[in-house]
Assembly symmetry: D3
Homo-oligomer: 326 residues x 6
């Protein structure tokens, strides 16, 4: 998170906290009490000008709402900026839900632009058809790209002429599964190795690794998931000339709009969805260019360049504050 | 106030407080001490992130200024967002004075648009020629409407060819009275029953009631005042097919710009009058459409629709915070 | 400062504080400890909603950074709005460095506009080639004006056909001196008395005084420095018909962008350099017109008019708050 | 409460708050949530240096403990002085439970001393055998007084030779009822009219009224309950020469030890039961003498004198603070 | 004040603040507003754990009460420990009024004890018959000393057999003047030079100076006033062997009981007058001995010894806190 | 610490914090910066009503002073109760230094009393001659006990007729070593096994273990050190009938006087050394009896009884606060 905030120039640091429990085993009332208890435990060290929680695994906007309510009670005033990912009604931001997929899209546009690959007709494979993957598939479809491959938890679909994304979205089952809509599905692994222009792993970590990296047939790989490519795989991809857009850049749309939500809470005035979208594009595009130029300047891949930029900004701030001397 | 903030989507609740006194009997120094004393009494339960006072009956921007100064002393820092309706010099908003009349105008434009009544040549009767009524009359006059009737405290004027609003504004006496400028004035009651396209009661409550409702000869009634139409009258108007734009929607311009004032105080950066106006129009127009669609959806009049929307938003917020379960 | 904030309509008062020491004799570590100690001493009476320090003589953005860090420690949360002139990385504003020179430029444009002097071909003399003077010279050069005279600490340059500003900027020595680039330099004093359209003293106070004022041959004098013109000199200039744009107006660009920095800190959202520039122009232009109209209305020079406006706004605020009665 | 605090010279004002509910119908978990919710609702206007809740009807030390825990969470530090009547383990005071009965005893000793009635052999009737009445009966029995009458909810017992208090205490049933231990019980009303030296109504209000007052056969009446004697009855008692020790004096032992609990919380150091007892005696004795002397000075009964003293102290404080002018 | 607090071991520093005005020209309402305004101006830098005001010239307990009330309003809770010298009703201490005279008495007892002068029959001259002098005269009279001389603003009285203090106290006029009760009064100056065991200047500064010091005929001089003895006079007294008890020791009773008032406010529990007196004696006696031993150890007079002790304690605290290094 | 506070009934919980560093390698200035940095890091979660640090290994009163000064700066007011173990000059308590040894002495007196062993003539062996051991040896010697054995880091001394403690104290070297004062010293281990009435390990943990426990020849073992007896050893001692006074009881004098220091800081009034001593004795004696009775009641040794009492009190508090349900 710290590096992600660094490369996107957010005035934030970064940390994670969690509770050891199985939320799927808990009633709504138990979840509420747990959420409130968590806020009570950390209330002294969080706050809109200290450390700002945001949703992550197994938390949703309802949980953020309970946490906000608890915090407001402790503070005795309304402090919506204490937390992000809130429901719209309680100070959330428009465009928060689609933020990550939009962010991936904008980095994809940037890299294609630089590489001279037109979106129109471009062949894309997206592994994962959850919140990020499905939105992304539709955006690309609408922009004229051919989404040739899609995978969900159970398997993948592949059609070199492009899949019918609107049809898939309309017909997915209640678990979001689409791979069973066609007879001829293939496995997740097989799909990754199909030929395409852009490959977007948007599900879990480690799917591109030393075993399959050499068989990848894409020009660009965008890490929409966290850490889908292993260290060893990255070396192989570098050698093959496949350009990788790193996760802390590609999927930073979520934290950027969380930041926008906080800005809106600070002023109390709320932005239209269009404005959120425009500023997200502006911010992620600038971050992309910055990382890209660093990769050029130091002749390193974008993964390394992203780390350079992220660490550099933290280092500068620490030095200016007098915490470290170099 | 709560419902008004609900339908206009302000991040506010709503309440009223007052002091039992006769401000007209009090010296300026007594008013100042009373205003400061009030703030001392409520200081713990108000604040820019708690509950934000705004001017209402018998309070003006000077009183808000004294209250702010007292609050600042208690807090030991400047907190202009604690109160709205302040003088410009102390953090007030441009456009606050005309906010209510502008708001009425925008809802009028919306309903006329929907009903296909062109503003140009439209016949309007306005009951009340105070701050709201007189501004409104001028705006409509400038836009080409015919203001055929006007009433003040002492009586009414009526001219089927349209009154000369600029003349009236220039010649009203020091109490704002214009009904004595012509020989042939008529009573307040008579005026309400004259034929027109749009009738705008902008003075006191209860003027349209079960006694006169059936004799009204307008197509549209806009409640610029608070509660000018009684429950029984609304039933009669519904039966006659007269469209009523309810008060909590029509006259919400004041609280909307109070909210804008608070937003500006939060950032410390102040908006131009044009921007205030543009955002007011945006907000009240969206609120109008929302209420209008609800009235269509549930086949109810706009009064009921406004209540549905206002209550729904409070209910949603209460549920999300875990205060109620449905 | 109070008057400067008054005429530019900033929601600020004004004061100065300092430490009796010689920062040039101190190590970086001593400066850091001194800066932190200063914040500890004044922490109770400063703050983003109380009194906001900004850099002045012998302080730079590093010192502001140490002060911010100390303040954040005392408050136990991040409070970037407590101080302005911070480094960008810690919440500073874009465009802060060029703010004063831009401000001088905008007032120059206004007065030339009013006097009907086209920038194109206009002859300008700038005394001082530091941060303000050198930026200003370049802006004017780029806009087509002829910078006929420049002075630095050691002497002046004069060329009735206009100096080659880009050449001078590129070739100044490490102390910023340019007057030794040509053989035929003249003294600071001689330069001031050369003929030109606009004379801009941008160095130290008192350079235009009762001794040389009568020999000035400009139409307009813009006080970019603080107090470059003495009281007696102003009387002489008035008599000669030379228009003087006073310092608290002309060089207010710095405090205006400090104010913008605070506004950005309040919301946590940061402006582009273009937006900072646009809003600076807007604000200083409005202030200029206000002072100019007052000078017309009361038939006084702009120096007096600036004082009238500055004092009037403080007086109004004091009266509204109930601190004084007139 | 205000008057009670006034006559006992506590640095407190006085107020009561409550929740409309039937605690007997609620589970322990519901009571806990209700108690916490109450604290959340009032947290801004209570506190150890603002307004300090204490237990009253249907609240016990467990409820105070929940309330304290909630308050501590809101404040984010331990603040035991926010509430009194806490369990010992969480900062309660020793001697709190017996405080009211001890207080009644000390006022009884004072008045008997003044009237020359020796405790030894004195005949006492106590109406009410709850917490206050039963403790008091035992203290008096141990000091050699004859408790000739006792009443509980179901009836009364009378024995001119003195009842066997230890026996009654040991044999009362689980509801505290003793009147069924003997065959010859009498009614509550009959008991009140029996001859005795001291009559102590220690149950409910209004038991001595215009109907039975003239038939009372005691020398002294001590109001251990709140308001057991009606206005009309007091006039009759005055006429009969029966001395009445008023409730706000006689039963002030509870609030006095609540005050001691707060003092102990303020220092964090806790007193022995002996010290609590000694200081309670000191305080209530001084209050008694003060009220008694006022009754002598103004030739009024002690009820009126208690009101004079209570109001006088509030008036003095209000005048010194500048809230009122006389 | 800092030295006084140092030698008496109070956990206080010391400072003075004032308002330039003539309180004798002001109405009660003006004084109230001035007092409240003063608190508003300094509220951020005072407080029970910061800096605690106490009454001094032209302030009384009513003024302290207004100041407390203002402070309580700003803080929104009761904070009696913010100020001392309050009325008893609002948290003042018993024994505050007589504190200074009691303190003088205790130092007198100590020095007489050490010098072997019995109080019984001891001849004392007291210059000043105000609050300090008159109380002191009575205490000494009651203990068997002979008060042979007294002076007030208009003159002095002298009787080698001892004056009749109770008679003087009963018969002083409304300005406290007694010197006109006898025909044979003498001047202030003459009185100082009369023979006695102990001379106590208790009025104004500088009365014992280089002109009259050599004519003094006492064994001990106790500075009850502030600075009654000049530097030059002290040298002469040293040479004559007259022992001087310095003012910051002798008249420290006032600040000591102010400190006790604050301690009582901290706990909320109030001490009896006896306890205040006992602890005052304990504290001033220990301070006396400490100063006395220092004077013995370093062979300096008690004036110098008091300075040594006062400065030493401030130095130790400063060093421990890391503010200075020696 | 939690159990220690539990059995001594202090209103505290318990925790430890530390810094990984070697203070012996650091300059005074480095130690100061480290101490201040530590306070900055934890300032939000400590405080006089939250969590109160006290000195432990490698910290002394100077370090506490720096920490207090840092905390006071952050809080902007004086808050001596934030930390204990402060120097007297900054709010420390008298008697803090000798508190642990006094506490050991009082538990020794209690157990001897209960076992009928007179102090007079009693044979004691003390292992450890540091702060605790040396003070204790002197107290016992003065009370007529025979200190027959002493050990320091280098070895032990033994004399069945009692060692000359004053001689040892006067002649110990600069490292506190005394075992080299006599020729015939013995080892630490040998000393522990000598015959005596009371054995007091006052140095390090684990000295009495399964290897030597069976050879111990004492009646009573008092754990002045932390954990000097292993679990296995305790079983052996139980079997041999040796009574063990557990460490969390025996050496609780330090934390008790830390608590007293905090109480004094809360009121601002400081106790005499006699009072500190008296209250320490009172508290530790009551704790001893409570643990002793529990050991009798449940027929367990005092180690187990101490745990029962410590845990019981934490459990009660947790249950009352609603944190746990049993």
């Amino acid at each position: 998170m710290s590096l992600k905030c660094g490369i996107t120039d957010l005035p934030y640091g970064g940390a994670k906290g969690g509770i050891v429990c199985d939320p799927r085993q808990m009633s709504s009332s138990e979840l509420e009490r747990l959420s409130r208890g968590y806020v009570r435990a950390v209330s002294q060290i969080v706050g809109p000008t200290k450390d700002i929680p945001a949703p992550d695994m197994y938390t949703n906007s309802q949980i953020m709402a309970w946490m906000l309510d608890e915090y407001d009670h402790i503070r005795e005033f309304d402090s919506p900026g204490f937390i992000t990912g809130k429901p719209l009604r309680l100070g959330g931001s428009k465009g928060r839900e689609k933020a990550t997929s939009k962010g991936v899209l904008y980095t994809l546009q940037m890299i294609c632009d630089l590489k001279g690959i037109p979106i129109e007709g471009m062949r894309v494979i997206i592994q994962g058809f959850g919140n990020v993957g499905s939105h992304l598939a539709l955006y690309l479809h609408e922009m004229g790209a051919k989404v040739v491959g899609i995978a969900d938890e159970l398997g993948g679909l592949y059609d070199p002429n492009g899949l019918d994304i609107p049809y898939l979205l309309e017909n997915r089952d209640s678990f979001g599964v689409v791979s069973n809509l066609y007879k001829d599905s293939l496995s997740n692994q097989e799909l990754l190795e199909k030929e395409c222009d852009v490959l977007i792993p948007a599900a879990i970590s480690g799917v591109v690794n030393k075993d399959n990296a050499k068989r990848l047939r894409c020009e660009i790989l965008i890490e929409a998931a966290n850490g889908p490519t292993t260290k060893e795989a990255i070396k192989i991809l570098d050698a093959k000339g496949i350009v990788l857009v790193p996760d802390i850049l590609a999927n930073s749309g979520g934290v950027i709009v969380s930041y926008f939500e906080w800005c809106q809470n600070n002023q109390g005035y709320y932005w239209t969805e269009e404005l959120v979208d425009e500023r997200l594009k502006e911010k992620i595009t600038a971050s992309f260019l910055n990382v890209y130029h660093t990769s050029q300047k130091y002749s390193v891949n974008m993964k390394v360049a992203a780390y350079i930029e992220g660490i550099r900004k933290i280092a500068e701030a620490s030095q200016l504050r007098g915490w470290v001397r170099f």
